[in-house]
């Protein structure tokens, strides 16, 4: 929670996309070597507002539209990064990873290690994730687990404007490759209204949020809900409802999957004894599995009950009743918490 030592509470509110863009613009002003590549990032400003307004200030040379050829341009970002530049490359939807994955995980993620760190790859791969607007199986996934599983990339998933800005500054300045996964529903795009929560006060000045530092977005004594991205807000909503029933849930926002802040999770579970993990990715072999496994392995004694909530190992369906069924809702989180007692 916000500490009380600064002079005055910040009240300038930004959407998550504005906060993200603000960090990018700051870094581009500070460093000529930073540039952004992607499809429809120039004149369009990013399909999900990820580059809104940047073209006007920085021009087509630094806010670059590229051919629809993810392998080529993501790999080109790797090459430019190895030459010492600091590219940001956008994969429009994470669901498209399969057309460029070789460059992502066999070059971007591995070149540092394979070179014994004689080479490094200071780039950011931004990508839009998430469902809730019926875009079906090829445009609605989060795929957190897919990226977090493969070593060599840091994996960032902001849930608020405040976090988005601080994490983006850190991502761009980092000398290592960072995958920055922003949830479409949180961006505050005109045509896709965000829930309450992601729009927050954001300082005008630059600041960096460290990776591997989960944020306790709500403190509670009875049960630990570990989650990320959109589901931070659903978990908080669930927690508020549960509070009315006398269940006091703690909500831990992971913020980054690699590195993973196991300590904060363990501390919370040590206190509550109960663990619910909520994720918008597929259930098996993913984020929920890892969180549960870490706790089981490192502090089995304190674990009294556990429940996982995620997409039930089916592709994301199109029709509203079907999509609603598979993406964990606030109600589902409440049910999961209740199902493991308190």
């Amino acid at each position: 929670m916000a500490q009380q030592d600064s002079a005055q509470a910040i009240d300038r509110e930004l959407t998550m996309s504005r906060a993200m863009v603000e960090a990018i613009a700051d870094e581009m002003r500070a460093d000529e070597e930073v540039f952004y590549m992607g499809e429809d990032v120039a004149d369009y400003g990013g399909i999900f507002d990820s580059t809104q307004g940047l073209l006007e200030e920085f021009g087509h040379d630094r806010i670059m539209d590229v051919p629809i050829s993810e392998t080529a341009y993501i790999g080109a970002a790797v090459g430019a990064a190895q030459a010492g530049m600091r590219p940001i490359a956008e994969l429009m939807f994470v669901d498209f990873f399969g057309v460029g994955m070789d460059q992502i995980y066999n070059q971007m993620a591995k070149n540092t290690y394979m070179s014994g760190a004689s080479v490094n790859v200071p780039m950011v791969l931004t990508t839009a994730v998430g469902g809730t607007y019926n875009d079906a199986a090829q445009h609605s996934q989060t795929l957190y687990g897919t990226f977090a599983h493969l070593p060599g990339m840091k994996v960032v998933v902001p849930s608020t404007a405040y976090d988005a800005k601080g994490l983006m500054h850190n991502a761009i300045r980092d000398d290592d490759p960072v995958v920055y996964m922003f949830h479409k529903r949180l961006m505050g795009i005109g045509w896709m209204p965000a829930p309450d929560g992601p729009k927050t006060p954001v300082p005008e000045e630059e600041y960096t949020i460290p990776f591997g530092s989960a944020d306790v977005k709500r403190e509670g004594e009875d049960v630990t809900v570990v989650t990320l991205g959109l589901h931070v807000h659903r978990a908080i909503e669930a927690a508020e409802d549960l509070a009315e029933d006398g269940i006091d849930a703690e909500v831990v926002d992971l913020r980054t999957l690699v590195p993973l802040d196991t300590e904060t999770i363990l501390e919370s579970v040590a206190k509550t004894g109960r663990l619910v993990v909520v994720d918008e990715d597929y259930r098996s072999y993913g984020v929920t599995s890892e969180i549960v496994a870490r706790v089981a392995e490192e502090d089995l004694a304190s674990l009294e009950a556990v429940s996982r909530l995620a997409v039930p190992d089916v592709p994301i369906p199109y029709a509203r009743p079907l999509e609603n069924e598979v993406i964990p809702a606030t109600e589902d989180i409440k049910d999961a918490v209740r199902s493991i007692g308190s």
């Binding site: 120039a42 004149d43 539209d65 629809i68 607007y133 199109y318 009743p321 079907l322 598979v326």
Partner: protein, 351 residues
């Protein structure tokens, strides 16, 4: 000269497709007023409409049979209509209904009609390899069916397309690749994404014939496709065809098109391929009355499909769990084997 009856069929396809998109636009925007909210209104998800693309689909599909395969991209309706996809069930799918082609699971970018071997998908150029596979199957089975992969001009630099050209070519497969050049890939004009004004030029690098139809003209497409499909059907290998079309609407519904010069939008509206074909009908001696009747029938068919679709039930939430596989999870058996193996127990066996 294209036969009059063909001209009529093509005209019908085109006005069906055009009116279909106009009606879907209306339906889609319903409930999204005054503020456009993608999650509101009767049609879920993104919607990519193809008004202005009709000439290409009908000109090519005239030469196809039900057992010929077509793969289409994210902008598929005009192609589906020309290929003879069940209009009611397709519309129900777009509205996310239980009786839709995919039971509401696929949506407008994932329409599958195995009756006429049509499929579409949402990733750029993704349909090219499966079309090559359909061609491969035909060749292996010694059948004379062909496969056609449609893509946009923005897709001509994607690996899946370029690799497919090579595979089709080296295996001499009955495949036709059709590029619908509408000048735009969302907000990116063609010259920003490739140096080649005529992308059929890519064919040369694979020793494949390439041709561009440089006007948005259904009969010109018909002629070019006749040769390409004929070549494929006769076992003489693949062809790359590029066809000029135009984009009358935004990339998807809700696209502000602020990147697009007004003259370009205006020019697109002006070069109307449907009117062009209507003049050809007239030149072939078909009366205005008859043309109007074709148009009205087409409109009626569309209206009734939309009517029918909207009457269909929403899928049951529980249905979300099915259809990941068609067979049992365990495969073709659930029975443990009972062989006794010699030697060490660790050596395989079963429990």
């Amino acid at each position: 000269m294209v036969q009059a009856s063909k001209l009529q069929t093509m005209f019908t396809d085109m006005v069906t497709a055009r009116y279909y998109e106009e009606r879907l636009q209306e339906e889609y925007l319903e409930g999204k007023q005054p503020a456009f909210d993608i999650s509101a209104g009767p049609i879920p998800g993104e919607l990519h409409l193809a008004a202005g693309h009709e000439a290409s689909a009908t000109g090519v599909c005239q030469h196809l049979r039900d057992d010929d395969t077509v793969t289409a991209p994210h902008r598929p309706h005009h192609i589906a209509i020309a290929k003879g996809v069940d209009l009611n069930r397709m519309t129900a799918e777009i509205f996310g209904r239980e009786t839709g082609l995919s039971k509401g699971k696929g949506g407008h970018m994932h329409l599958f009609d195995p009756e006429v071997n049509f499929a579409c998908s949402g990733i750029i150029a993704e349909g090219c390899p499966p079309a090559v596979g359909a061609g491969l199957a035909a060749k292996k089975r010694n059948e004379d069916s062909v496969a056609v992969a449609f893509i946009g001009e923005g897709a001509v630099s994607q690996g899946a397309f370029l690799e497919s050209l090579n595979l089709a070519s080296v295996q001499d497969l009955p495949v036709v690749f059709v590029i619908e050049d509408n000048d735009w890939a969302i907000s990116m004009p063609k010259d920003r994404v490739t140096d080649v004004a005529d992308a059929s030029q890519r064919a040369g690098g694979f020793d494949m014939p390439g041709e561009r139809v440089d006007s948005d003209d259904a009969t010109a497409v018909y002629d070019a496709a006749k040769e390409a499909v004929g070549r494929a059907r006769d076992g003489n290998g693949p062809t790359l065809l590029e066809v000029q079309v135009h984009r009358r609407m935004g990339h998807f519904m809700g696209d502000p098109e602020s990147y697009r010069p007004e003259e370009d939008s205006a020019a697109a509206k002006n070069r109307d391929s449907i009117e062009r074909l209507a003049s050809e009908l007239r030149a072939a001696g078909i009366e205005d009355e008859e043309i109007d009747e074709l148009r009205e029938n087409a409109h009626d068919r569309v209206d009734s499909a939309i009517e029918w679709a909207k009457d269909q039930p929403q899928p049951d939430p529980e249905d979300a769990y099915g259809d990941v596989f068609v067979g049992p999870e365990s495969g073709v058996t659930t029975t443990e084997t009972t062989h006794e193996l010699a030697g060490d127990t660790r050596a395989g066996g079963d429990d």
